[in-house]
Point group: C2
Chain length 428, copies 2
């Protein structure tokens, strides 16, 4: 007999269900079990007298044990869970659970120690349903537009974009590093004439940060495309991608997000608002009296970034904000410049940066000059070579999958990752 998912059980049918025991009341004459699978919960009601052999099975059970139950589904108005209960004819024990070491409200570190138990709740499982839909929607958007998927190496020969913050590993008789981003390789794909590429893959940052949004390993969603006119093409593309993705997540899980997290999933209007860094500081000062020293005005401070949530809401009734015109010293050497202004942007959602993007410098001479100016020459030589033998103009951006997940559900990064990795956490 085929297993039926709990959400699909209808009264009057004989069914086989399977799942974890969420609740267990083992009385003298009756036993009530609440079974949970990925789709929902249902009550199993056993009249012991009728099935003494099943009563003996139930006596062995504990919370979070896994069982398979075959029986008749019947309507019962007194049962809370959808008004259906199952009268069991057979109960098979798949796995008996020891007493659980954590509870739903245990401290986050204990929950991470036993992450597989922590993830069993409907609320926490939803995190990965949302993440799955989010990633699938973005990938489909790109595949529908003829993007190629590629897989760039994570073990690299030279410390990439900057010398700091990379993990070093022993590679046979020499050393190697873990890639901080697929940046150089997605641009290599442009130099290979692939025109449009994306990659969803882990990136590694050896930063000793202990914030609610930093991890040493996370999943990057990166893309790059050729023959753009300028970086506004990249911004336009991103707002289309993000809007489509939120639309799909809202359609599939908007109600669950509201029910379990109390959060409204708002599909953004297009176009997204755009402000220069300078204008943001002007408004923050005028509206909230927030100022920073002149020397810090080339980039957004973490606090300014946070305040843009309120600002974008007030000025544009929008949760997103594109920020442009950063100081050239605050941007990587591979961003194209025009009259000294980097041709790129950040995208902020709910006060947190989710993207850096730009038109890239594809002209060999200009690129080498920019690198030299930042004191990078030998380190990036393998990369600048990509642009010596012909390369189309191109641009792109990356978004952090975990960070997007976090923002969807107002979580910390520790909760948003399947397994969190930080300076002090390597297990499980």
């Amino acid at each position: 007999m085929e297993r039926t998912h709990i959400a699909k059980v209808v009264p009057g049918e004989k069914v086989k269900i399977a799942g974890y025991i969420e609740n267990l009341r083992n009385k003298r004459t009756m036993a009530f079990l609440v079974i949970r699978d990925i789709t929902g919960k249902i009550q199993v009601t056993l009249v012991k007298e009728e099935h003494p052999e099943l009563a003996a099975v139930v006596d062995q059970l504990t919370i979070d044990s896994v069982i398979t139950v075959t029986g008749e589904a019947v309507a019962n108005d007194y049962v809370k869970l959808g008004g259906i209960e199952i009268l069991p004819e057979e109960i098979r024990i798949e796995s008996v659970a020891d007493a659980l070491p954590i509870k739903e409200d245990s401290a986050i570190d204990s929950r991470l120690d036993y992450r597989w138990i922590d993830l069993r709740t409907e609320k926490n499982t939803l995190i990965f349903k949302v993440q799955t839909e989010m990633t699938a929607a973005m990938r489909k958007f790109l595949l529908d537009r003829d993007f190629l998927e590629f897989h760039s190496p994570k073990i690299i020969g030279a410390a990439s974009e900057s010398g700091s913050e990379v993990f070093k590993l022993k590679y046979f008789d020499g050393d190697a590093y873990l890639a901080q981003s697929p940046q150089f390789y997605k641009q290599m794909a442009m130099a290979a004439g692939f025109e449009r590429v994306f990659e969803v893959a882990p990136v590694f940052r050896a930063e000793k940060s202990h914030t609610s949004k930093h991890a040493t390993e996370f999943t990057g969603f990166d893309l790059e495309f050729s023959y753009i006119d300028d970086f506004h093409d990249v911004m336009k593309f991103e707002e289309d991608l993000i809007t489509d993705m939120i639309e799909k997540v809202a359609a599939k899980y908007g109600d669950d997000i509201k029910r379990l997290y109390g959060i409204d999933t708002i599909v953004p209007k297009k176009p997204f608002p755009v402000m220069t860094v300078a204008d943001i500081y002007k408004e923050l000062e005028a509206r909230y009296g927030y100022t920073v020293p002149e020397s810090e005005k080339g980039d957004l401070t973490t606090e300014a970034e946070k305040m843009t949530y309120k600002l974008a809401k007030e000025m544009f009734d929008h949760e997103f904000l594109f920020v442009t015109d950063f100081d050239v010293n605050k941007r990587p050497f591979y961003h194209m410049r025009k009259d000294g202004v980097p041709q790129g942007f950040d995208l902020i959602w709910r006060g947190v940066e989710i993207t850096s993007g730009s038109q890239r410098e594809h002209r060999y001479a200009e690129l080498c000059a920019n690198a030299a100016e930042k004191g990078l020459t030998e380190d990036v030589k393998f990369y600048t070579e990509f642009f010596r033998y012909g390369c189309p103009p191109h641009g792109g951006f990356g978004v952090g999958v975990d960070r997007l997940t976090m923002l969807f559900l107002d979580l910390s990064i520790k909760e948003a990752q399947f397994i969190f990795r930080g300076p002090d956490r390597l297990n499980p």
Copy 2:
């Protein structure tokens, strides 16, 4: 004006195209340029007298420079490429290429040194079109069946499945390792009640092998699902997945594969043939006189594996072969056993193993006993813990994306990877 992809150019229209210069004949009165983009090639024909300013631009061009051309597309029966040529009104130089350091028939190592140039040919670009479709098809198959996508950590605290062959890295004040597979984590997802998960991500193997099919880093496509009856459910699922995927690749790129590689993409019949290791050796001896010592008969030798291509063709007219009943000593401790027989399989395509799969041992006591028997206890303790607090029966398998790509097009692994990583190759 919007750019038009070359394959979409029709005579009689004014178009803007962009791409690499594949061929350049710059004569006294005329210039002929063949431009290549991701969709095809087209000739640009310049009558110099009519456009002296464009003649000056063409004088600066080299092979593989990138240009944007605006002009009229006209039919011309004398032009080979689709009978269309473009009469340019404007030529913009995007990027001038230095003299190319490699040719199409250069030695593989030089080609890998300049991989971005090597990949520009239609033939090599097809590798990643095929790979994109292959991965997209498999992912869609799983998403349509309610699989959740997850991202497991690549930096792990303990050397995973075995102590050998892992890369070690410095992790702040301690050590860490690179994951050899997401095996333990996809099973953790089962213990978390996720029921069905998949991951497409890099895996790392510190093997000093120099074969045509081994790499130190490659892309694994891994999946795992709960509530199976036995490992035949897993095999059935895999043959459905693989068949659907090959069908889609054949539909989209079958003609290109035939034209550029001379290979027929054969959609396999279902069910795939299944043989035990013992039966394979019997047939190999009877048919081809191939024998191995009794001590090696618990597993397939590399040579036996290769010979199964011919064997499966002869016996079943099939390119695939499931192999079962390996010796228990040749299989990992986490495979379930029944009467001493591992409940798993390999899948061989065209004489190369593409998958190992099995029902997993989800019972804590049995799992710990199996681990102890292999001398693994402390190393895998973090993993065996997953099964102490309830876990459904489950199974799964993984396929190598690069290896599948390789087999589709009869390539070596060096050619099939976007960037190959081997013991002697860390660049670019």
